[in-house]
Each structure stands twice: as C-alpha cells, then as structure tokens.
C-alpha cells in the first residue's frame, strides 16, 4: 500500500470516528470537538491524496484547500463555542433538549 493511500484511509478513519462522536455524545463540547476531528480527517484525506503524479512533487492545490478549510473550521468552532456559552448562560445546560415542540 503506498503512502498516499495510507494517509487517505487514516483520514477516512478519523472522519468516521468524528462522525460517531457527533452522533453519540450528548455533551455539546464533545460534539464540537468531534466535528473538529471530522474536519481533521477530511484535511488529512485532502493532503494525503495531494499528488498529481506519483513520486512527483506534491500538488499545492489541495494544500490550499486544507488551509482554507482550517480557517473555516476555526471560525465555525468559535461560533459554536460562543453559542454553547450562551446556551449555558440562559438554560444552564450543555446538552441539547430532546424535543423542541410544545
């Protein structure tokens, strides 16, 4: 198995772990972290597969995508954390309520 495939599979694995985390955990902070882990998985896939010609120089375009992705992830995480704090302030809970309807 070549290196690229290894990184890609690892990335996929990390992605799946993150996905599992988002679904399973109830504590919002864990969910947010799980999303970040998913993101890392995707970035790993992108960077790992970043070769146009095997054994040639790596392709810079996916790297640019990863950097963009990281920036977006930072912004998103910031928003998520602020929302979490607000929710904590107002409702005293860090867990999403089960049923929204009245």
């Amino acid at each position: 198995m070549n290196v690229a495939l290894f990184y890609a599979l690892t990335g996929a694995g990390i992605f799946t772990l993150g996905l599992h985390g988002v679904i399973i955990y109830r504590h919002l902070l864990r969910k947010i972290m799980a999303i970040n882990i998913m993101g890392s998985g995707v970035f790993l896939v992108l960077a790992g597969l970043a070769r146009r010609v095997p054994a040639g120089p790596p392709d810079p375009v996916p790297h640019a995508m990863v950097i963009t992705g990281i920036v977006v992830a930072v912004a998103a995480t910031a928003l998520a954390l602020v929302l979490l704090l607000r929710l904590l302030d107002v409702s005293g809970s860090v867990v999403l309520p089960d049923n929204e309807e009245e």
């Binding site: 912004a75 928003l79 999403l96």
Partner: protein, 478 residues
C-alpha cells in the same frame, strides 16, 4: 461579481457602523436587485455568462457562471431579499439591539447565496456553503433565549456535519479528476468506486442541509424560533440554495451514475410530503406549522428526481417553479405570521381569531401564499403541481401522482385551519400591539408575487431555459 461584492461590502459596513445597519441594508438590497435584473437582461440577450476571477482560467482559477438556472435563483433571492430587508428595517425598530446584529449577518448570508448560485467550482461552493451555514446559524440565534440558542446550536452542528461530508466528497473528486472546476470535472468524471463514494457523501451532506426527511429534524425548531424576517430567509432562501446545489451537481456530474438514487430521493421526498403535512396538522403554534409545511414542500422538490426519467421538462420545470413560488410564498407566510405574532404577543393558532380580523392584509397575504402551497390556481404552486402531475401521469407513475394529490389535500387541511380563523366571531379582547402597515404590505406583495408567477409563466420559463441547464436539448419535445 458585483452581486457578491455588494452584499459583502454592505455586511462589512453594517458591522462597522451598526446604527446605520437598516439604511445600509436597504441600500444594498436595492442595488443587488438592480444588478440582478441587469444581469438577467444580459443573460437573456447573450446566453450563458462566464467570469474568471482574477483572469485565471480553470483549472487553476475559479469560474463564475451564470446560466438560466443560476439567474432564476439569483432573481428569486434578490426579490425575496428585498422584501425581507424592507420588512426587517421596520421590524427591528422595536428591537434595535437585535437589529444591529441582524444586518451584517443577513447581508453576509445574501452574499453567500449569490456566490453559491454563481460558482462553478466545487471547492468555492464549499466555502459558500460554510458561509451560508454560519450566517444562517448566527441569524437563527439573534432572537435570543434558550429555545433559539438550542435550535441554533443544533442547526450549527448539522450544518457543519453536512459541509464536512460535502468537503470529503470534493476531496475524492479532486483526486479522481485533478480539478474542482465543474465543467472540467464533468468531462473527466466516470463511474468508479471513488466517484460513487463522492456522490454518496456530497448528496448526504446536502440532504442534511436541505432537511429532506428523515434528516429534517433540525428545521422546525430553527425556523420557528427565529424572528420573522430570519424565518423567511431560512425557509425561503437557504434551503433552496442547498437544493439548488444538489440539483446542479446531479445534472452536471452525477446524472447517470445511480438510477436507484433517483427512486430513493423520490421516496424520501414522498415521505417528507406526507410526514411534514401530517405534523403540520398537529401543530398548535403557527410558526411551527409553517416550518413543517416547508419540510413537506421540500419533499415535492425531491419527487422530481424519479419523475425526470422520461419527462424531464415537466419534472424539472415543475420543481424549479415550485422553488420560485415557494420562496416567495413561504417568506410571505412567515412575514405575515410575524405580523400576527407581534400583534397578539403569541402565535397560538387556536386564539388567532381576534388578531386575524384586525390584520386583514396579513391574513390575505397568508391565504394567497397558501394557494401556492396547496397548489390551487391561480398561483405558481398550481403550475408546478400541474407539471409534476403531468410528468407522473405521462409515465404511468401512479404512486407519485397519488402522493402529489394527497399532499395537496393535506396542505389544504392545515392551511384552512388557520385561515378559517379570519372569519370566526372574535371572542374577547386583549392588549393589541399595533403593526405598521408597511410590514403587512410587504408580506402581501410577496404573496401576490407568488400568484403572479402563476399567471405569467412563459417569461420565467424562457429565462430558466438559457444555457439548457437540464440537458433537455437532447430529449425530444414535451
């Protein structure tokens, strides 16, 4: 390009000068509408427009492309956006702090929408998706309060999840094709394990964001707990944008990859129609009813996928006509509901009678918008339903036809439940909060727009067809 920069600039300025938010917002809204109309004129005259950012050609550069489909979406966003902006300018006079937060987020959302409609580059689309999602979540949270924050949080998690699925798909596609420009990818893409996986990922991500049953769980709370202009934007525009993206990917890239997927989408759509309508019937709060109605209407859109197999024109045009009419009608409904709620201080349906009779314009707006939802003439919704039924019946797909008909009946049930209150003898009095006439008129005008779409069909059809986005030139006539 201006269509993206204008709202972006507006957003920045509104952020920097919060107290001028309303005026900046309106200025931006009008300019965007004029630019959109200008662009439409160019598109009708000269066909598909391409713009290369920075002059860099693909595969390195990012292409912006406008064909009939994009143009229609841009125009719809521009018109509805103007309506929302005008309404919000008046609405937030009562809540100035929320108003200051609203404008930058709203303009950011709008620029994300326009960018999404114009981009022809998969990664750029990812960025626009994220921008769209984050600003939408922000707007959902503006209202404040535990319910809104919880709904926004859920929306955020869902949105991020969806975007990441999409991004993973993009990664796989880039690996397979060496580019993320849609045209190039379309040429190079062939069915393989990697591309099928990419299809699955991207479609799942976008389905999550478009709230197709059963991935709709986040929508009712998010749309119902937001302030009226925000709900209008979310239901009217945001879910349409993600649907548009899914459609675009399907038409350009994945059309022939997985016929079973068409049926699956159709089945989920049918389930959405039935489930959403039934849930709407059960609601005791007006905004939740309207939100579930959105869930149901989205289902109709997905039913076009299996119907397009042999009746592409009717199915796709029907779906798009529903997108256009629903955008206008649903935003009108949410704005009208906002009026009712502000007047009464609550939105419990059972106690709407006195409110409804004091605000005849809002109720009329609601009723007229309801005609589109029910698919009754004259309205854009009727035309959409006509086409979709035609597509179903000409192929002998009785099951889909039955769902279309039953869906219409159910929507009549839950809508008339509300409209009936406009006519009952009002019981008792209560403290009424006055509602400015302009807010009522905006809701009414948007609703009239959806009715007009039902009367003037040929022009939108002509615009939609520019550049043949649905690949219909290869099919025989209707």
């Amino acid at each position: 390009m201006t269509l993206i920069l204008l709202p972006l600039a507006g957003a920045m300025l509104a952020f920097l000068f919060p107290r001028a938010g309303g005026r900046l917002g309106l200025l931006t809204a009008f300019s965007v509408l004029f630019s959109a109309i200008a662009l439409a004129a160019v598109v009708i005259g000269d066909g598909v427009q391409l713009h290369l950012l920075g002059g860099w050609p693909a595969p390195l550069g990012i292409t912006l492309r406008t064909d009939g489909l994009s143009m229609v979406m841009l125009l719809v966003a521009a018109v509805v956006g103007l309506g929302i902006s005008l309404y919000a300018a008046v609405w937030f006079r009562q809540e100035p702090l929320n108003g200051e937060r609203f404008w930058p987020l709203w303009l950011l959302l709008w620029s994300a929408l326009n960018a999404l409609f114009l981009s022809a580059d998969l990664f750029n689309l990812y960025v626009t998706l994220e921008l769209l999602g984050l600003s939408a979540v922000g707007l959902a949270a503006v209202a404040g309060g535990a319910a809104a924050y919880a709904a926004a949080m859920r929306y955020l998690l869902v949105s991020l999840l969806g975007s990441l699925l999409y991004l993973l798909g993009v990664a796989l596609i880039y690996h397979a094709c060496g580019s993320v420009d849609i045209t190039l990818v379309a040429e190079r893409l062939s069915p393989s394990a990697a591309s099928r996986a990419a299809l699955a990922l991207m479609v799942s991500g976008l389905l999550l964001k478009t709230a197709l049953f059963p991935l709709h769980f986040w929508l009712p709370a998010a749309h119902a707990n937001a302030g009226a202009p925000v709900s209008a934007a979310l239901s009217g525009l945001v879910v349409k944008a993600t649907f548009y993206l899914l459609l675009r990917l399907w038409l350009e890239l994945f059309d022939t990859f997985a016929p079973q997927l068409e049926t699956l989408l159709g089945l989920l759509g049918a389930a959405a129609v039935l489930w959403g309508s039934l849930q709407a019937l059960r609601q005791s709060r007006l905004k939740l009813l309207i939100a579930y109605s959105t869930v149901a209407q989205i289902g109709y859109l997905f039913m076009a996928f299996p119907l397009a197999a042999a009746a592409g024109l009717q199915a796709w045009y029907g779906a798009l006509y529903l997108v256009m009419s629903h955008a206008l009608a649903k935003s009108a409904m949410f704005l009208a509901a906002g009026n009712l709620r502000r007047h009464a201080g609550h939105d419990r349906i059972a106690e709407l009678d006195l409110v409804a009779q004091r605000l005849p314009l809002s109720v009329s707006a609601f009723a007229l918008a309801g005609m589109t939802i029910m698919g009754l003439p004259p309205s854009g919704g009727f035309i959409a339903k006509w086409w979709l039924l035609q597509a179903a019946l000409v192929q002998g797909m009785w099951g889909w036809a039955l769902v279309l008909v039953v869906g219409g009946l159910l929507s009549a049930a839950y809508l008339f439940k509300v409209v009936g209150f406009a006519f009952t003898r009002a019981r008792g009095t209560h403290e009424a909060c006055p509602v400015p006439l302009s807010m009522e008129w905006i809701a009414l005008l948007l609703a009239i727009g959806s009715v007009l779409l039902g009367l003037l069909v040929l022009p939108p059809m002509a615009l939609l067809g520019v550049g043949d986005p649905f690949g219909l030139a290869l099919e025989a006539g209707q």
